[in-house]
């Protein structure tokens, strides 16, 4: 019994560190929706800084720690947020994951590089290598107190515990009892709504990143005596604490905190009582990752279908429809030249490096399948590589021929892939990524520790194959063979893409629900992709191992897989040929840099990590960016001329202006659209204070785009937006909201995870104003502590609009406020809107239910294919005009307008 007590008590201490890291993870995840793989690296950086300042320069411990935790780390978080995370929050999930993986290697290298520079400059820093038993904040060596027999605690543990408890309390107060905390939670819930309500989500995200970074810093300083200066250990520690973040579902700080503590205890209990697993080498090492995997499986709410990452819009394929030679000619030429180069210009050394890069390219192409085609992030590719190569090596040691062994190895990798995919597929994007990472670690620590499979540290020999006269033990022959294999892989994937199953895959990627409706099995497609990708990785792995002529179980670890993904995505994961480029770049560039640029080993790593920064700007990678940018530059001029022409012919009629007060909202000649798809062609609408303007039009006429442009969510290509006479065209949604323009977006404008009271508080800081709302809406009053997500649709819409009555905005733009509501509720909603008008608000209403809205509107505007085709007082509205508005003005058919909408919205709406 006393054993149990000891295990629990001391487990709580180690759990405290997990809790700190997990809390930081949850905060940063909440702020920008990205799982920060570099969180452990931040902690490491702080530990390094603490060591250099305290031990190297002799600064006093406690002030140094405070400086680092309260100033330096938040500053780092601020800087990273400004440079990267803010932009990353808007790009696809793969780019997000990869950018932070880049940081994971760049931050420690940056720290070491700075130490190197300081050392060169004569500052008395200490070397950061081979440092053990480093002092923490407390006395060193730590003081120890025996509480009772066998139960002791030392000063470092005590400090960790006290600091963590203080942080827990502080965070709780911040999140639950301050306006800032409420806004942070609102931003977690619905980022764009926060912006529409006039709160800067960017600023909130900065605060969250500063907090998160500070927590990482604290964990770093506290963990210094335990982990020393090993960036690797800090990162592993982070992955373990990710389990706690999963327990908190990446949203709940208290749950993550408790999860961290519990994890520490559980780990201790397993260490103390898991004698049953003693015969399985690696079991105890793998426990945290087992828990992580189980946690992911059991606790993740199913958000999207079958492992789909957040939809990231594909880059426009500017070569679509061009002849084969234009599309593939340059690539085919490059391949032939490369193959020829092996026998003409390259030295033996470079032949070897190129062959290695090409062999790796085969592995990299597998990312194109799983991530490019399937939109799933797999961090287990290195596992498939190791698995296939080990099996092939094992078989070859028994005399199997190369081809047969490679085939079996490939199949084993494919089976392994299916096994990984089966449980993981029901998870969403980053959860899937984490699950594959957990499995990769499990494989490293248990599967590849099996003696018969790994053959100790010797591994297995995989001699290069010889086919008749072709002997691949010559690097040049190997290189040419790899060119051929890469070309075959690229061509095969191209053919797959254009085949029916390839189209099914793309369908599953872009619209799983629609794909399911058309009879495509999402799960089967995903499983197929994962299996295919694993098999390809396995085959590439056997080839790569045969380049090395040997495979050992530690050649490709889970961490290697992380780096690989980063390298591929940085180049572009959508097309297999980009993966080949990535493989070559990965093999060649380090040598070029070492030869011609710098001797420092840290600088190239820092530069590699900074590729993440580039990814924030070009989420589709540098290969894709080249062609996209070139095309954009080329297409700017003719495009503008086309739009100018159309404007000249159409003149939108505007209602007469009041001479006194300026209009509440005025749109003048707005042109707007989504990447390459113009939607609005000169929309002009004026809304006066105390006026309801109804905007009618068929699907795809640009109603929602008009709303988004008016609210500042979309920047117009041309034209102006005036609010109360002020030009606000260039201002974002936050500034516009502060100027008094509110958009009630399509769907419900509430924060579902916050309570009714909290939703109201975000609008109405004044308690009396909230009470007034409750008085009027008794239904809300009775359930003020219920989360808004639990309300019915009508109640949610009322909750969104009710607080406006207390402080009427200057302009309210409502996009289909009655969508999906029962008729009785619609009446309530319209009554509310009329009251707002009477209070002086200018309203721009977009509605499908034309007959009902005509009952309240003062002015009616018809929108047709991006132009206002008619605008006038409600009294002048005739039934035939209404019909025309909905049928899309007979002439050139509604089909085209429909296309415009589909295209335009597809590009922006997830």
């Amino acid at each position: 019994m006393s054993d149990l007590l000891v295990f629990v008590l001391s487990g709580l201490v180690s759990g405290a560190l997990y809790a700190l890291l997990a809390t930081g993870l949850v905060l940063s995840y909440s702020a920008s929706g990205l799982f920060n793989f570099a969180h452990g690296a931040t902690a490491y950086l702080c530990a390094l800084a603490f060591y250099e300042l305290h031990s190297g320069l002799g600064w006093p411990a406690v002030p140094t720690a405070l400086l680092l935790v309260c100033v330096a780390s938040p500053l780092l978080g601020w800087g990273l947020d400004r440079l990267m995370f803010r932009k990353l929050a808007r790009v696809g999930e793969t780019a997000q994951i990869v950018a932070t993986i880049g940081l994971l290697v760049a931050l420690p290298a940056l720290g070491l590089w700075v130490v190197e520079l300081l050392d060169d400059a004569g500052v008395s820093v200490k070397p950061a290598e081979n440092q053990f038993g480093l002092p923490g904040v407390g006395p060193s060596p730590a003081k120890n107190w025996q509480l009772m027999d066998g139960v002791g605690i030392d000063s470092d543990q005590l400090i960790t515990w006290v600091a963590t408890a203080a942080v827990a309390l502080g965070l709780w107060i911040l999140m639950r009892h301050t306006t800032l905390g409420l806004r942070l939670r609102a931003a977690v819930d619905n980022r764009s709504l926060v912006e529409l309500r006039g709160m800067s989500a960017d600023r909130l995200s900065t605060v969250a990143w500063m907090l998160s970074s500070g927590l990482a810093g604290l964990a770093g300083v506290l963990a210094t005596p335990l982990l020393g200066l090993s960036a690797h250990d800090f990162t592993l520690f982070l992955f373990v604490s990710a389990t706690a973040a999963v327990l908190g579902r990446f949203a709940s700080v208290p749950l993550a905190f408790a999860g961290g503590l519990g994890l520490g205890v559980l780990q201790n209990l397993v260490a103390g009582y898991s004698s049953f697993a003693e015969r399985i080498t690696g079991f105890r090492t793998a426990v945290p990752f087992l828990i992580l995997f189980a946690g992911l499986l059991l606790l993740t709410r199913r958000q999207r279908t079958a492992g789909t990452a957040a939809a990231d819009a594909p880059p426009v394929d500017y070569l679509a429809g061009r002849p084969w030679a234009r599309k593939w000619g340059p690539w085919a030429m490059a391949a032939v030249l490369l193959a020829a180069a092996f026998y003409t210009v390259t030295t033996p050394f470079w032949s070897g490096i190129l062959a290695q890069g090409l062999a790796l390219s085969l592995v990299f192409v597998s990312f194109t399948v799983v991530t490019g085609l399937g939109a799933m992030v797999s961090l287990a590719q290195a596992t498939f590589v190791t698995g296939a190569a080990l099996v092939a090596g094992l078989l070859m040691s028994h005399g199997w021929p190369f081809i047969a062994a490679a085939l079996v190895g490939t199949c084993v990798a494919a089976v392994l892939g299916a096994l990984v995919a089966l449980p993981a597929l029901r998870l969403g994007g980053r959860t899937l990524a984490l699950a594959t990472l957990a499995l990769a670690f499990l494989a490293d620590q248990v599967l590849f520790q099996m003696g018969w499979l790994r053959n100790g540290d010797t591994g297995w020999e995989i001699p290069r194959p010889v086919f008749g006269p072709v002997d691949l033990s010559d690097d040049r022959a190997m290189g040419v063979a790899m060119v051929v294999l890469c070309a075959a892989a690229v061509a095969a994937l191209g053919a797959l893409r254009n085949s029916p199953s390839g189209r099914a895959m793309l369908a599953v990627r872009s619209a799983p629900a629609a794909a399911m409706a058309s009879g495509v099995s999402v799960i089967r497609t995903k499983l197929l992709l994962f299996t295919l990708s694993a098999g390809l990785a396995g085959f590439g792995g056997v080839m790569y191992a045969s380049y090395n002529t040997r495979i050992t179980a530690t050649d490709f670890t889970a961490m290697t897989g992380l780096i690989w993904l980063a390298v591929v995505v940085a180049a572009g994961v959508r097309r297999p040929q980009f993966a080949v480029v990535a493989g070559l770049v990965y093999a060649i560039v380090p040598h070029l840099v070492a030869d011609y640029v710098t001797d420092s080993v840290h600088l190239p790593v820092v530069l590699f990590g900074l590729a993440g920064l580039a990814l924030a700007n070009d989420p589709d990678g540098y290969c894709a960016a080249i062609s996209v940018r070139r095309h954009r530059r080329r297409s700017t001029n003719p495009g503008a001329a086309g739009i100018g022409l159309s404007e000249a012919t159409v003149q939108a009629p505007t209602p007469p202006q009041d001479s006194g007060t300026p209009p509440a909202l005025e749109l003048r000649g707005l042109h707007a659209g989504y990447d390459g798809a113009p939607v609005l062609h000169g929309v002009g609408i004026t809304v006066h204070p105390g006026e309801i303007v109804a905007l009618l039009g068929p699907n795809g006429s640009g109603k929602s785009t008009t709303c988004r442009t008016a609210a500042g969510l979309l920047t117009p290509l041309r034209g102006q937006v005036y609010v109360a006479g002020q030009d606000v065209t260039r201002e974002g949604p936050v500034r516009r909201a502060r100027a008094g323009v509110l958009l009630a977006p399509e769907g419900r404008g509430i924060f579902p995870a916050l309570t009714i009271e909290e939703n109201l508080t975000l609008h109405l800081a004044d308690k009396h104003a909230r009470e007034a709302v409750y008085e009027r809406f008794a239904g809300l009053a009775a359930r003020r502590n219920v989360t808004a997500g639990a309300l019915s649709g009508g109640e949610q819409q009322l909750l969104a609009l009710a607080p406006l009555l207390q402080e009427p905005p200057r302009v309210l733009i409502a996009d289909e406020p009655s969508l999906g509501l029962a008729p009785r509720i619609v009446e309530d909603v319209f009554r509310l809107l009329t009251e707002l008008r009477d209070a002086g608000t200018g309203l721009l209403l977009v509605e499908e239910k034309a007959t009902e809205i005509l009952g309240v509107a003062d002015t009616v505007a018809y929108l047709d294919r991006g132009r206002v085709s008619w605008c006038g007082p409600r009294a002048d509205v005739r039934a035939d005009r209404l019909t025309e508005a909905y049928l899309g003005l007979a002439a050139s058919g509604p089909g085209r307008a429909q296309d415009a909408k589909a295209e335009g919205e597809g590009a922006v709406r997830p």
Binding site: P225, G282, Q356, A477
Partner: protein
Amino acid sequence: MSRNVRVITATVAALLLATACNSAATGNSPDSKGSSVRGVTDGAIKVGGIVSMTTASGYSKKDTDLGARARFARANAEGGINGRKIDYLGAEDDGQDPAKNLAAARKLVQQDKVFAISPMSSVTFSGADFLQKQKVPTFGWGTIPSFCGPTYIYGFGGCMVPMPGGTISQTWPEGLKQVTHGAMGKTVAILANDNDAGTFAIRTYKQSFASAGYKVTFAKSSVPATSVPSDWSAYTKEILRSDGGKAPDIVVSVMQTPYNIGLFTAVKRSGYRGVLTDPTDYDPGLLAKSATKEALDGVHILLTFEPFETRSAAMKQFKADIKKASGGKDVPLNMHMMTGYMSADLFLSIAQKAGQNLTVASFQKAADGFSDTGTMVGDRALPKGQKESFGCGALVQLKNGAYHVSSPFKCYEPIPFK
């Protein structure tokens, strides 16, 4: 689409044909053809090194390079080897990355055209097969299986990985007998990391200690290998009750320094007064920190070379060489310097024996049957050293902030590995 396939097929066929012609024509003969020998001129022998200097784990062997530099500098100062100076290019950093290790080996051989590689000290040696195939004599720290078997690869202290059919060095238990005054009735607990290497270590040391006469009461590879436990109570409890409820006489840790610090601190806090020992913590740098000094106080540490505390002529020479190579400064000594130094020393000794006509073949001939005695790694003999370790070692004890020799440097007879 069909055109696509046709073009690709045609290209592939053409390329395969070209490959077949070329690889048939050129074959794959290593570079050392004709009269000139790779890396050897009348006046110089070119030598390179591969060392893990920067790593994500914070563990670095970079002083290996300094050690090699020191030894080569002395050889040159003494007039070189048979009239040839050693042109040491310095060590390539492999960052403990297998891909970089192989690339470094390729660069040294194919681009820099070195005659030999010395030192090669890393945790990974994926360049081994390449070096063996290219016939590049390579010298380094034999803790990797590649040092056991391949004919061109030599460990400075022999092959230190017990191989099937090979032997286990008895240095550790035999040395401990000095400390425990014999093995009779003494009990031992061995703890290792929970991975394949740990399991292998348990297997060998269990046999090793038992055959030296100790009673092994506990031998487990159960400490998580990826992160240092912040709390050791679960392990210490089990160990300290392993001798029928009592604590064993000796606690042996086969783990790295951060683990040892945690384990030994916890064991001592729980009142353990027996012998603590490990094979990794001989690093005078550890004495610089009060925490490590206290945690490791009293621990007996195994070394496979002469302790720096010995006053032999060779050790004096070593210290002088190191001081000279580091620009006259008194740098704290560590085992990586010794690794580099003795790797270089073994290479030089064989090259000396190979004589004036230095080729890879003459070098290999000289290595076969090479032996000498009384070096800082004991009595060296080849090719025996490519199958087993030279079997020599010492124990030092850390006491009051300084290392003291607790069992002097000596060579012991190995036992067959079962």
